[in-house]
Amino acid sequence: MQSHIAVGLYNYWIVVFLMMAGFYIVVAQGNFIKKIVGLNVFQASVFLLYITLGKVRDGTAPIIGEGIQIYSNPLPHVLILTAIVVGVATTALGLALVVRINEAYGSIEEDEIHKQDSES
């Protein structure tokens, strides 16, 4: 069952890649919208991590029924539903702040805003 193990690990490699990519975007980009996109990618990696943790090999959906012996753990999936909601709220608030920043400064570039702040 080599292929199963490799498939199982694939998910974790994607988690690590998304996490690092998202984190890099947050740190490296000066544009506030891009920062929020990076933050979303970063959070999505954690969603995938939890979902992968809950998956049981050959398991079905956790429904009681005839002939169902092995089923995936529903708890991490439910937990991550909450985390997704939190992520959506964070994104919404972040975007609202970007709109306000754009109204106040006329720019959403970090450098430009710092320049305006140091001049005034």
Partner: protein, 493 residues
């Protein structure tokens, strides 16, 4: 009986009053709702502390689902004490908010402010009371999201950028915490803190547990603004509305310190945190740098709110230093300083709020002669400043005393010397303000101003007065801190 449900009501009252505030819309009504909710929270947390002192740990099953499957609210001495700190600060600042908020916002936005304030209060209390690791994350995000809103309500447009930066860093911190909790769940199959502690103690430290430990410590350190993860804090506190700076400075980072204590000592045990992981050295070095670097930067600030923000980073350094000692006196110093710093810093931010209310500036150069123009407010600021230095007869002295004792118990003499040296830096930044307030003459063109209304002055003096009172009558604070420290170290179990 209703008293059995106090743990749930502690959260439910502010959480439900928040939408009520939103619906009533009227500025005085929404203020009254916020006032009732925060005073009810204070009464409940006081009652809970008495209950815990009388009969030990309270376990409340939410919705009557038995832990570890259901969510449990678990109140022991330490979180009962933190609940009291948070709700007491909330109850004191809300009367102050009425005039201050009216002055700082347009009238039509006032009810938004009270709504987010109540959500923030509910979130902070929830983080403190919960006995479930994932629930802790959810409450942490409730409090963080509402505090981003509160900070963004500041009048200066820089408040928006500060709130955005806080949002980005706070979300990264929270996501790190979720990763840590997820890894712990993967290893143990439980989320209940007491159950986690039991199962972690039973198995050897695997790489998963080590990774979870690292993610959690870094995530929580971001939330508590441990040097060098403090970058979000100075601007957030400097440009937030006065009342928000006072509330957040006195509660938000304190709750994060509590979460760190909870994870390091209750969930992981002391041997793992400080034996297998070299965390004591890391925390020691970072907190000492925080004490010196942040105090030194504070000296050069012209904006006094920013100065107090940097001073907060230094003071958080003292708390974390107490944790790094991992002995009874060190933890006592940490827990005492949670309380003491909340009083002093809350009081000082409120005093600055009073000054801002009259002269619309918190810059050092506009403080000339403030000791004569607003004598009571300036005196409050001065006493708070003496507390930050750690002068005897202020609460700052009590916490530093135990901190030095902790360093000596641990055999770290040089650290004790460093604690005293860093206090000298606090002397410098407090003296700068005192010199301008008391020694400089009132400028000739300065308009006549009177003291602020009593509704602002009394809350300021309650906090400052308490910071002197608890230096003289230390029975409550030192007693609770001692029991809590022994409990955390497992001596009192």
């Amino acid at each position: 009986m209703i008293a059995d449900h106090f743990p749930a009501l502690q959260i439910v009252i502010p959480l439900l009053c928040a939408p009520v505030c939103m619906l009533v819309r009227h500025k005085d009504w929404s203020w009254s709702v916020a006032l009732i909710a925060s005073w009810a929270s204070l009464a409940i947390s006081w009652e809970l502390l008495l209950q815990v002192q009388a009969s030990g740990v309270i376990s409340y099953k939410l919705g009557n689902w038995a832990p570890p499957f259901g969510i449990e609210y678990r109140i022991d001495l330490i979180n009962a004490f933190v609940l009291l700190i948070v709700s007491a600060i909330g109850a004191v600042v809300i009367p102050f908010a009425r005039e201050s908020v009216r002055h700082e916002f347009g009238l039509n936005r006032v009810y938004f402010f009270y709504t987010s304030y109540l959500l923030c209060l509910a979130g902070l209390l929830g983080v403190t009371i919960t006995g479930d690791a994932f629930n802790l994350f959810v409450f942490l995000e409730i409090s963080s999201l509402s505090s981003y809103v509160l900070i963004a309500l500041g009048r200066n447009r820089r408040a928006l950028v500060a709130a955005f930066q806080y949002l980005v860093m706070g979300t990264i911190g929270a996501t790190f915490i979720v990763i840590g909790i997820g890894l712990l769940y993967a290893e143990t199959g439980t989320l209940n803190m007491a159950d986690l502690a039991k199962r972690l103690a039973a198995e050897p430290t695997s790489r998963t547990i080590g990774a979870a430990f690292g993610f959690l410590v870094v995530g929580i350190s971001l939330k508590l603004a441990l040097f060098p993860l403090h970058l979000w804090l100075p601007n957030a506190y400097a440009y937030a509305p006065s009342m928000v700076s006072a509330f957040l400075a006195a509660t938000a980072t304190k709750v994060a310190v509590y979460v760190l204590l909870r994870f390091l000592f209750t969930i992981f045990d002391v041997e793992l945190s400080f034996g297998e992981m070299p965390l004591d050295t890391i925390l020691l070095v970072l907190s000492v740098i925080a004490m010196f670097a942040a105090s030194a930067v504070a000296i050069y600030q012209n904006n006094l709110k920013r100065m107090l923000a940097y001073s907060s980073i230094a003071q958080i350094g003292y708390m974390v230093l107490g944790i790094s000692f991992a002995n009874v006196n060190g933890l006592m110093a940490c827990i005492l300083h949670l309380f003491n710093h909340a009083l002093m810093k809350g009081g000082m931010f409120l005093a600055l709020g009073c000054i801002f209310y009259r002269i619309s500036s918190v810059r050092l150069d506009s403080m000339a002669g403030m000791g004569r123009r607003m004598p009571l407010t300036a005196a409050a600021f001065l006493i708070g400043g003496l507390g930050l230095i750690g002068v005897p007869l202020t609460v700052g002295f009590i916490s530093k005393w135990y901190l030095v004792l902790g360093a000596i118990d641990r055999g770290w003499w040089p650290v004790a010397v460093l604690i005293l040296l860093s206090s000298l830096l606090a002397v410098v930044y407090v003296w700068r303000v005192v010199e301008v307030m008391y020694m400089r003459p009132v400028p000739d063109d300065a308009p006549e101003i009177e003291e602020v209304p009593p509704s602002m002055l009394i809350p300021t003096w309650i906090l400052i007065g308490a910071s002197v009172y608890f230096a003289i009558d230390t029975e409550l604070t030192v007693g609770v801190a001692n029991q809590a420290a022994n409990f955390l170290l497992g001596n009192g179990r």
